[in-house]
Symmetry: C2
Subunit: 106 residues, 2 copies
DNA sequence: AAATTGTGAAACCGAATAGTTGCGTTTATA
DNA sequence: TATAAACGCAACTATTCGGTTTCACAATTT
């Protein structure tokens, strides 16, 4: 079962859940109230988010508060940065090529 | 059919394709050589990436070079930044609460 | 102790997805 | 002109995914 941050945020409902609990930890029922779906569906999304450690459940009596774990978001930053690095290298290569052409032209 | 950047980068093969063509535009065949799958499968991934405008095809004779379009990546940044904003607001609220408790205690 | 509340888990269903195979079209080459 | 190469598209398959329904269990409330 693939379970990573990329797959987790692919679903719009899960992104909305993340935005919701970013402000404050909430219970599945409280979260479900914000959506036009059943608690069980939300529960499944929370399971996915928990499994990829984007979210952390915290039992409090018979309620479970789900809170966001921001540190896992860094994986997105890291990947984006990696792509940007490669992207910049591309232009460096082009610069080098143009420089070479210029030098050979003289 | 859902077709956005989040869904596009959910697939590890597509992320690898993005990393590949970030350095230089490549043809489907050239890309497929880097993977343990058929050209048609890669072609499908390229279609997804093209449809959400992460990639741009450029016909050159009988070959089609696919190049990365970095600007669409900004949507990821925007979303991440949005979540971070909310996340920070959370601590502001906590600060306010602590401040209030302190003031009431006096 | 009994009823209620908050929850996860399992079974099931329809839709979406990744992959393969086969085919047709366009461009280049012998 | 015949052949090969590069490619997209359509049909098909197996798997995954999001959602619903039902059930079981533990913590509260009455």
């Amino acid at each position: 079962m693939r379970r990573d941050v990329f797959q987790a945020i692919a679903d719009p409902t899960r992104r909305a859940i993340i935005a919701l609990i970013a402000l404050q930890a909430l219970t599945p029922n409280a979260i479900a109230e914000h959506f036009d779906t059943t608690r069980q569906a939300i529960s499944k999304h929370l399971k996915v988010l928990t499994e990829c450690e984007l979210v952390q459940p915290e039992q409090q009596g018979r309620e479970i508060y789900y809170q966001l774990k921001m540190d896992k978001m860094k994986e997105l930053d890291i990947w984006l940065e990696q792509i940007r690095k490669i992207w910049e290298k591309r232009f460096d290569q082009l610069d080098n090529l143009l420089q070479q052409l210029k030098e050979n032209g003289q």
